[in-house]
């Protein structure tokens, strides 16, 4: 048992613990695995295995409503991630190293979108957009709920998540490196561009990936601020589940699973590379 942590447990307890751990892993993975397997089911009855087939993927991807929902999801995710990464990082930097008027208020408010439940955020934004449109309509232009309101709402919660992640990175930041750059006559901008930014980049990347994932995952808020003809993929899936389980839904769900697992593994690989890179520089 080399390398094991000595916890003072008896062998029987230890075996029980190991068994339990695998039961929990099974609990976490079996439902997903079953879903994936049945998405390749040739039978249209959801509970009977009728052979392997890609049929439902074909049908899902030929469905106009689904492809349009995928498009909306991707646009919203890209836009909200880009905007929230810039705004969230700026707020994180400001909160970490500057003292200014309203700093404390901002510091408190930034955590709220993370804490409050999705459903309250959703109804808040629904009411807000309804009132705002009423106000704007009196001036002429007509706005309706749609892709832009979904994107605006996603940015509203993503700023906070990006900010928190980047701040965590800034917490471990060694400010002497910036001082060294300044001592070597780098300007403020040069110091930021060449020293600060590269050092907090892993935090920004992690925050961006989180924002991307949250945007692609969100169903409650999108469901409330989406308009007719502009739903995201999760909203489509959510409303379809209510009508019943279809093999087509299994196929779309598997596609969504693949997308998010790819994102996680990508993030982990990125983290790994960064970690080993920073270890090397430390050795140097």
């Amino acid at each position: 048992m080399s390398g094991n942590v000595e916890t003072g447990l008896g062998p029987r307890t230890r075996r029980l613990l190991a068994g339990w751990a695998w039961v929990v892993f099974a609990f976490l993975y079996v439902p997903i695995a079953v879903l994936v397997v049945f998405s390749f089911n040739a039978s249209s009855r959801v509970n009977i295995w009728g052979g392997f087939s890609f049929q439902w993927y074909g049908e899902a991807l030929n469905n106009e409503v689904i492809t349009s929902a995928i498009r909306v999801s991707l646009i919203v995710a890209a836009v909200s991630t880009a905007v929230s990464v810039v705004l969230g990082t700026a707020v994180a930097l400001a909160l970490d190293r500057y003292r200014f008027k309203g700093r404390r208020a901002l510091d408190g408010t930034i955590y709220l979108p993370i804490v409050i439940p999705d459903i309250t955020m959703a109804v808040m934004l629904l009411v807000f957009f309804a009132e705002a449109f009423k106000l704007i309509d009196t001036f002429g232009p007509r706005f309706t709920l749609g892709i832009s309101t979904i994107a605006l709402s996603h940015i509203a919660f993503n700023i906070s998540f990006v900010c928190v992640v980047v701040r965590a990175r800034l917490d471990q930041f060694d400010r002497t490196l910036e001082e060294a750059a300044r001592d070597l006559y780098a300007t403020g901008w040069q110091t930021f561009r060449r020293v600060t930014l590269p050092l907090i980049m892993p935090g920004i990347a992690a925050g961006g990936l989180l924002a991307l994932t949250l945007s692609l995952d969100d169903v409650v808020i999108s469901a409330f601020v989406a308009g007719p003809g502009s739903t995201t993929l999760p909203v489509y899936v959510f409303s379809s589940i209510r009508r019943g389980v279809t093999p087509e839904l299994n196929a779309i769900s598997t596609l969504m699973l693949t997308a998010s697992i790819t994102l996680v593994l990508g993030a982990l690989a990125l983290q790994r590379r960064r970690a080993s890179a920073s270890q090397q520089t430390q050795v140097l």
């Binding site: 080399s2 094991n4 942590v5 000595e6 003072g8 008896g10 613990l17 339990w20 751990a21 929990v24 976490l28 439902p31 997903i32 079953v34 879903l35 049945f38 959801v46 509970n47 810039v86 705004l87 700026a90 707020v91 500057y98 003292r99 200014f100 008027k101 404390r104 901002l106 804490v115 439940p117 999705d118 459903i119 309250t120 109804v123 808040m124 009411v127 807000f128 940015i155 509203a156 906070s160 400010r175 002497t176 300044r182 403020g188 110091t191 692609l216 995952d217 169903v219 999760p234 959510f238 209510r242 389980v245 769900s253 969504m256 699973l257 998010s260 697992i261 994102l263 996680v264 982990l268």
Partner: protein, 320 residues
């Protein structure tokens, strides 16, 4: 990025004052786009929903903002709504307790593996956590459905079909499945930090294995238990997707009830009042957690500022 360093080369006193001012301006400039965005798309909606909670629902289902009253808050005292709140609280408590019971031994096992095994197992824990939440609830729906694979399996084994979907049991399973990782991660952090020589010492002093656990390990990992419980309780209590997909008419929870007020029932003021209540409840839960959690926020500041800052920097109290 550090105006303080540049300015203090000239006359110290006035230079520092100007530098502090420049710094303040720069900070404000940096924060303002994000702050403005939050003000418009978060603070304003939050204020609006609070205003709505004092409004009146007209007979046509519209919301009239004239004539403020607390009728909606009074309506919460209604038996039906209190019943829904009670049920939500009970299911959230049950979910939290189950997550703790399932998650503690699991986290214990993870945290006591050799380092390289630990890293791999942690990735295995994180993958389902990061995958699409809706799809995971759908997976449970599919598995438990009366014509789903689990039912087919039990039928072929001669146990007959089971009808678990649309019951509180199904909702609880779905919530444990959705939020278990939120419990496991803080527990894992607490257990991994654990100094095992303390339990060893207890054993050396003739404490039994279980006694050492209850008297040493458990108290030392209390922070993880509290944090995990809050992290699970908060989303379970306000959950909307899980009960909507897995629950039935008998498992109406507060999240779905709020949604209903804004969709079919068109009673915005009542929905708004319930939202305000939910937000306040969540904030209280989180605040309690922070207070029990050694006040990391306050203790962290001075340490972080120690490095790379001019000694003459104004005290936080003087500025804000």
């Amino acid at each position: 990025m550090q105006p303080a360093g540049r300015a203090s080369e000239s006359t110290r006193a006035s230079g520092e004052k100007a530098a502090a001012q420049a710094q303040r301006r720069q900070g404000m400039l940096l924060a303002s786009p994000g702050a403005l965005y939050l003000l418009i798309f978060f603070v304003a909606p939050l204020a609006l929903i609070s205003v709505y909670s004092f409004a009146t629902r007209t007979s046509t289902g519209r919301t009239s903002l004239s004539g403020w009253n607390i009728e909606s808050y009074r309506a919460i005292g209604d038996d039906v709504i209190l019943g829904i709140i009670g049920r939500s609280a009970w299911l959230a408590t049950l979910t939290t307790a189950l997550c703790l019971a399932v998650g503690y031994p699991f986290a214990y096992y993870l945290a006591t593996r050799p380092r390289h095994v630990r890293a791999i197992l942690l990735v295995l824990v994180m993958i389902p956590f990061w995958t699409n939440g809706l799809v995971r609830v759908f997976a449970i729906r599919f598995l438990l459905g009366s014509n789903g694979p689990a039912s087919a399996l039990s039928e072929s084994l001669g146990f007959g079909t089971f009808r678990i979907l649309f019951t509180p049991t199904a909702v609880t399973i779905g919530m444990v499945y959705s939020f278990l990782t939120l419990m496991v991660l803080p527990l894992y952090v607490a257990l991994e930090r654990m100094d095992w020589s303390l339990t060893e010492a207890a054993r050396d002093l003739y404490a039994s294995g279980s006694r050492a656990f209850w008297k040493v390990t458990l108290p030392l990992t209390k922070s993880g238990i509290v944090a995990g419980s809050v992290l699970v309780f908060v989303p379970s209590f306000g959950s909307y997707v899980v009960p909507d997909i897995l629950g039935g008419a008998k498992t109406l929870l507060i999240g779905s009830y709020i949604a209903r007020q804004f969709r079919d029932a068109r009673n915005y003021p009542l929905g708004a009042a319930l939202s305000v209540l939910l937000i306040v409840a969540m904030l209280v839960a989180v605040a309690l957690n922070q207070r029990s959690g050694s006040g990391a926020e306050g203790g962290d500041r001075p340490r972080r500022r120690r490095r790379g800052r001019a000694r003459t920097e104004p005290e936080p109290a003087a500025v804000s």
